[in-house]
Amino acid sequence: MSARRLAWLALGLLLALPAAAAAQSSIFGVRGPGFPGRPYSAAAIGTGGSIGLFDPQSQLSPASLATLRTGTATFTLLADYRSVETPAGSASTRSYRFPNTYITAPIRHGMYAFGVGATTYLDRDFTLAVRDSIVLRDSLRAYTDTTRSRGGLSDLQLAFAIRTIPKMTVALAAHLITGTNRLVARRAFDDTSYSAVLQSAQTSTTGFGLAIGATRAVSNTLTLSALVRKDFTARVNIDSALYGGATTIGADYGLPWTFAAGAILSVTPFLQVATQGVYRTWSAANQSMVNLGAPGAKNSLDLSLGAELTSRARRATQFPLRVGARYGTLPFLIGDGPTYQPSEFALSIGTGARFAKQHGAVEMSLERVWRSASGSDISEKAWLLYTGLNIRP
């Protein structure tokens, strides 16, 4: 299949995808615009995300197209099983998502490469239940509030990599950040004399971003990569009417700079070790969040370390063992009065295999994640099962 046909296929697939290919949900995405997505393939997740800057099926950096050898379509499926603890109780949740879809191809005899993909920028899927009571007609009336949100922001990327410089790849990417958020608030009183309150709204958000990344092979065993990305202001529109003291419909909030750097080292022909750090200046959204009534936002840091062990150097894609660990702070604060910045720690393991004469590949990774906000009573643990399907025409 030619690069041009692959490009058309890629575009068609992207248009066919749901706008919000959301990633995992989290209780820590409730008090902000959402929970940040992770633009990684299932293989990269297996290493804790540490090879994200080098993995051509991941969308963290356009420079990861450096090692792309053939046109590839990547689809990632995620099953998310969480147990959440809050002061109000505990719950087990599950969801099913498509967090990463990426179509890539080398062009001009491999001198260049492009990628077009969709990944999750912010996920805002949650359903919250509150039990409380109020005094109406001189009596205490118990009720259950349910707030449901579906949607979030998707990051549509068009990446272009220049691979003409020896041992180095420089890449650019343009990002369209867009999505809708369907919100439903319901209050049901125990006293059935009161009708249930049911209100809904839909917000739509758009933003734009640019990225530049580079990858350089320092030696035969060591490769370095770096990324700088700037996302501009997100503009939010809401379909419901003005309410209370509001003077405008919707809101704007700043999107962050992203700085990332990573290294991958071939310790032996069978073992690769990688590390990566990603820093995002989410404090750009802090003032807007506070103005909108949220606790606020702080910069986030994501650090990961991982390794990939293969049994045979010549067939490294057949059942490698990938392990990884990562630690990160989450950008959106929680709490009322005192606020807390959540953080997460994760361990992961994964493998994969190719089939159909190398035209197809399946990657699977299992990640165990612990999230909490020190100082608060809110925490969650999750099993995240990623399954990736790669198709090479």
Binding site: Y96, A129, Y194
Partner: protein
């Protein structure tokens, strides 16, 4: 490729399918999480507002003349009941002097006769209730007064007494005439084939019953005559002639109260209904989500009636405001079923009606109140109107304004 190399690859597709199967199991999303507010509540909280509306002063009034006693579904009979001392009157359709058998009119000989009534409601705690039936002369008709009716209840006109079993809450009661008693119900030439029955009641204490009338559809009074037709074929000799009322009504010793300019009255016969109009605030009409609306009516005096028999005050919206002739909105009603005696504030949940008032094409903000069963209840509630600020109707509304979703 060796056998050993083939093995792992064999597992690739099954493993993928297994993964898809596992993921498919998660397709049914479950995200519900209990949380505390405001710590984990986005978008603030739902705020419930409360307001009380009163009718536009002078716009609330009662109208009478809706359903007459002879068009109602019930026949009231009582013995000195303070709420209403009532007697019943039933005039059956004419019974001919022949019966059609085998396509031929045949004369007949009467074997026996029955007069049936259906008790619709009675005081379940009052024992010893007996219905007294009188055969009335043709001089008693639809224009007769209570006094003229009761004057005809003479010992000579006495037909039978029908015991209403103490255990019977509702159901059929029958007066049977045969043998020696058959002559009591015999129609004389002056009757022109029409049986007229007067209904009174006796009991150890003042009480009453409500019998189903012909307007009820089923269960109305019936007059059955069992005859032997003059026909040779013995298989068809036995015939039954059944007659239903041509007219049935009840009369009270004292007429039911009439509407006054300063009160709102519902019930009675001919029945009265009350209309009240409200000024509906813009915030409720255009913006709010109303979650409860209760109409509160304050009786000006204790509501009397028949003990242990319920009546219901019904509130109904109107399609357009044409005063006393405003067409009612069919299925959308609110109601309060009350026991007597009562002087409590009568609360009627009217949310479905009030919701129809909302929007640019909303219905007129008004209620019609009427009493069910209409024109066949011993009770006649009288409520305060806007002329009496202390007892005027109140419409309590709880509502929610649009929820602020924009906040994270």
């Amino acid at each position: 490729m060796t056998q050993a190399q083939m093995m792992p690859r064999r597992w690739v597709v099954p493993a993928f399918l297994a993964a898809v199967a596992v993921l498919s199991g998660a397709c049914s999303e479950r995200l519900l999480t209990p949380v505390n507010c405001p710590e984990l509540c986005p978008g603030g909280q739902i705020v419930v507002y409360d307001t009380v509306l009163t009718p536009i002063v002078g716009s609330d009034t009662s109208f009478d003349g809706y359903v007459a006693a002879n068009k109602s579904t019930g026949i009231l009979v009582s013995n000195n009941l303070p709420a209403a001392d009532a007697r019943g009157f039933v005039k059956f359709l004419r019974r001919g002097d022949s019966v059609f058998v085998q396509d031929t009119a045949r004369t007949y000989t009467i074997d026996s006769a029955k007069v049936n009534f259906t008790v619709d409601a009675r005081d379940s705690l009052q024992p010893g209730v007996v219905l007294l039936l009188y055969k009335l002369p043709p001089t008693v008709d639809s224009t007769s007064t209570f006094d003229e009716l009761t004057a005809a209840f003479t010992p000579e006109a006495f037909l039978d007494s029908v015991e209403v079993p103490d255990t019977l809450l509702s159901g059929k009661v029958t007066a049977l005439f045969s043998g020696e008693t058959l002559a009591r119900i015999a129609l004389v030439p002056a009757d022109s084939g029409v049986l007229r029955v007067g209904l009174a009641l006796t009991a150890p204490a003042a009480t009453g019953v409500r019998l189903l009338a012909v307007a009820a559809g089923t269960g109305g009074p019936t007059f059955q005559t069992y005859v032997h037709a003059n026909v040779a074929d013995t298989a068809v000799q036995r015939q039954t002639i059944t007659r239903v009322p041509n007219y049935n009504t009840y009369l009270t010793a004292v007429p039911f109260p009439q509407p006054t300019p300063t009160t709102l009255l519902v019930g009675g016969a001919p029945s009265a209904r009350a209309l009240m109009r409200f000024s509906f605030p813009l915030v409720l009409k255009d913006t709010a989500e109303i979650i409860r609306a209760t109409l509160e009516m304050v009786p000006v005096a204790p509501i009397e009636g028949l003990s242990n028999v319920n009546s219901t005050v019904v509130a109904q919206g109107i399609l357009v405001d044409l005063g006393s002739k405003s067409p009612l909105l069919g299925e959308v009603t609110g109601s309060n079923t009350f026991h007597v005696p009562t002087s409590a504030v009568m609360s009627i949940e009217v949310l479905p009606i009030v919701r129809l008032w909302q929007g640019s094409a909303g219905r007129p903000p008004a209620f019609f109140l009427w009493l069910s069963p209409e024109a066949s209840s011993f009770s006649v509630p009288v409520f305060g109107s806007t002329a009496d600020p202390v007892r005027q109707p109140r419409l309590r509304i709880e509502y929610v304004r649009p929820y602020q979703f924009a906040l994270p």
